[in-house]
Symmetry: D2
Subunit: 305 residues, 4 copies
């Protein structure tokens, strides 16, 4: 599809002037050092085509996009029992507030806010012998890139500055909604956040969410059709922190972002897209990433709404 | 489509045993008196077909489904300027809390919570000479039912028990986000809530949201294609009070509910559906209504995700 | 007591250089116009002596000092039944937040925050034929000044800018903790706030709180000994908005302040003192007033602690 | 003073029938095992007399009364600099909420709520080589009982169930208001809570707060006169968790309670009193202890108000 390639190139060129308008995440030194002047786009469709623009092959810290991975693993392992320990409602709050967590008695609002992903990691830790290994293997398998790695400098830096995550975990423990040792679970959580992948890896990895849960070669069923819809529904309502409504309004796709500047989005039954640019807007989502996605859905005339 | 009719009949029969599991809204006497043993379904598709089951022709109090009407009117009149006074994010809160409204300085989270709809009514009041007349006319025009009426007993009852709405309006006024006399705006707001329509009326009225903003006869453009997507996006993220995530997860459609027991939902480019049953679940949405919609999207194999 | 007079003069001169460091209340125009460069002190002891310094005879808007009057009236009329509708705990919040009021189901934290005083006025309104008249008469009787008057320009200005108070009253009504018409009660509430008295008036008026509830001439028992202690206890824990702890720490007396810049304080079994200076600190209490009181208790070597 | 002894005996007998109306703290097994049927009273006056009734010589877990000890140590070491890291306002909240701590950016409301005492312990840890040893020595010195000991079973049990305290400490760390290792500080904090003393020990230990900061033999100045008033002021406004206002209203003394069932209270320039009974009321204070103190101040006709 020549048309798709031309469109990505066009959008890429249009958004470049926005470089400098956002701010690279600086809560940990290891992320603050990333060169902000990078923009990548990768699209994978169900015909097996991959289209890219810009820095689509540069690896970056996937950060909270890992919450999509941990949710998928959690649904695989626990099925509906997952939802006894974590809710599935938008938070209507900043992404790492403890206020709501206390008011709701230690049940995190959804698996895409930090508290929710910590709880999912706690559950994975209860069932998996080597949760970190499993996370990495799954990313390698899904992306077809055998060399996905964790940046341990980033993971260590997260741990050093991770007092708020520890506070959340202990608060859940106080409500008897956290089963394992806090430090052990945080270790797995930071490992997942510090995985490094590029736009092509991520678009490929999550293409199954556009394919009713199956890998493109139909060899693997990652999730059932129903579960796939459920994950997409959760992304659509909760995937963009406190910008979920605005993202639905402007872009109109299920998506999950990370403070590394990446966003994965899905057009069910059509394609997956991953965009990346390190500068964030006020809600912690990639400023240029959202701009790209907005233009993309407007131009192809397709959104879920 | 014989198939559709058979499916609605089947679902109707399946959900009847759930009568008695929810609770009719009782915060105002006029609503508490409704016979709970009623279930209606109406589907309108883009081919001009209408399918019904059960009490699809019995009028009920549309209550917060009117917030969809006021939003559409607000977007027609104000365009994007509407969003200066009301946000478009899920609230993550019970539907009539003042806590969030105060913490966010009098800017309501979205136009589908009570505070947001009050603010939209305040804006309509600033521009329309006869806002109540206009609301009613629009509902008549869209539904093709010239006899849509307001139940003044219900409206009066709402006003009598409306201290919380008045508190919200005054709190917004304290933050300089409310321009007109509180009582005047409440009068228009309660009028809209107390409009009475049946499932067929409502499915017809909002079919334009499945038709890119145009009425089926293509004579009227109610909203632009983009605005239509935006309204659907808002319904998908904010339309079901504090059950938005669960509704997306189970049903997977943009929808708007009211405490009268009605829910309108949209499958973009396909159809509109209105379900009604007065008994509510804990979040104030029709218990049987959601059950019907869940079975409906599962059986037709279509949702937006 | 020459000594006392000398001390007041000394303190008066010491604090004058602080003029300009605070900010006159500006939420209503009528208050914002007050000349900020005024400082008054009046002390009344149980021997019948009155000592003054500075602008002790200049009348000012008593504002929330009226909450002490309404509490005393409420205790006279209702006795312990008062505490069914209003609590007696420090709020730990800004003085007019609705958040706590909603979280605590419409029961105001104490009678000295705005919501609490509104509720007390609501209760007075239920029992008194002419509550405004009664308030004024009581202030005239207690102060020995027959000419205490309400500044209606101020009262009207409060009403014009009183959306937040209306919001509180309606929120209490929503919780069924407000019995009368909101506008009627607000009228009485603003009347009390807009009474004008000077430091001498106020020190005299509340001297009974230092005299176990009796007027100095022993002709009238305003409150029982126990009730008097209770009022002093409430002032000590709740009388200074969100500066109660700091005021106890620095000054060490039961006291009640108003945004007009006045503060009444009591040394039980010794004396009453009223200080006044219009400029407020960040918590809405008279900046210079607190400074005077701190020096006063340090110098006389007496506080309640 | 025969009179005092007779009064204590009388009150002791009056309150015994209230046994069974409260509930022993059960959040840790080690405390839940305490025999609830115990009531002790000890009064120390400035003439060197000690009066007792009931189980005044039975040691109990001092729990949060230790917060008075840590505050005194903190004021000795840091002086006013202490207040940069902890505020001195009543919390208006349950005693261990994280909501307020987050809303106020990690600055605890006062040194008598758990978060505040944790922060004070953190500061002690920064300056003292052996904080636990120092705490114990001070208690021995002040009480004249060389055998004050820590119950390590209780301390271990606190640690095992201390997820909420850990959450608070980490949340303060996230706001950069916690300097030392969380586990280290918690260790010292739980040590202080698990000290065991009896009513006589505690009344003697804190008699200096009724004596302007000096020990009765005048050999030691624990705090300056001003600091002593400040500590009493803090106890009066913040010492009884969310019952501070009610305690002031009913009892009228500065006091500090612990969930072990002890309460220390002070009549400045007169006496100290310690009461103990393990059953607590809904706010976590000794139900019978408060009853004793209310009768005590009523009968001797002395309170601070």
């Amino acid at each position: 599809m020549n048309h798709m390639q031309a469109m990505l190139d066009e959008i890429y060129n249009e958004v470049l002037p926005l470089l400098g308008e956002g701010r690279v995440a600086d809560y940990i030194p290891a992320l603050a050092k990333v060169d902000p002047n990078q923009v990548g786009i990768a699209v994978c469709d169900l015909h097996g085509n991959t289209y890219t623009a810009g820095d689509a092959n540069t690896a970056f810290s996937i950060q909270s996009i890992s919450k999509l991975l941990t949710l998928v693993l959690g649904m695989e392992i626990y099925g509906d029992a997952l939802w006894k320990c974590v809710d599935k409602e938008p938070s209507g709050q900043a992404f790492n507030s403890l206020i709501q967590l206390e008011m709701e008695h230690g049940i995190p609002r959804n698996p895409f806010i930090n508290a929710g992903a910590l709880k999912v990691c706690d559950m994975l830790y209860s069932r998996l012998a080597t949760p970190k290994q499993r996370m990495k293997e799954m990313m390698c398998k899904l992306s077809g890139n055998a060399h996905v790695t964790c940046n341990h400098t980033v993971a260590d830096s997260e741990r050093m500055h991770g007092a708020r995550s520890a506070a959340m975990a202990y608060l859940m423990k106080a409500f008897k909604n956290f089963d394992n040792d806090v430090d052990d679970v945080l270790d797995a959580y930071y490992f997942a956040c510090a995985l490094e992948m590029n736009c092509v890896d991520l678009a490929k990895a999550f293409l199954f969410l556009a394919n009713q849960g199956k890998t493109l070669d139909a060899k693997h069923t990652i999730l059932t059709t129903t579960q796939t819809k459920q994950v997409n529904a959760l992304m659509a309502t909760c995937g963009m922190y406190n910008q979920a409504g605005d993202f639905a309004y402007r872009v109109g796709l299920p998506g999950k972002s990370g403070v590394g500047g990446g966003i994965v989005a899905i057009i069910p039954n059509h394609l997956s897209i991953c965009v990346w640019s390190p500068e964030l807007n006020d809600t912690g989502n990639s400023l240029i990433g959202i701009e790209i996605l907005e233009r993309f859905t407007a131009r192809i005339g397709k959104s879920i709404y």
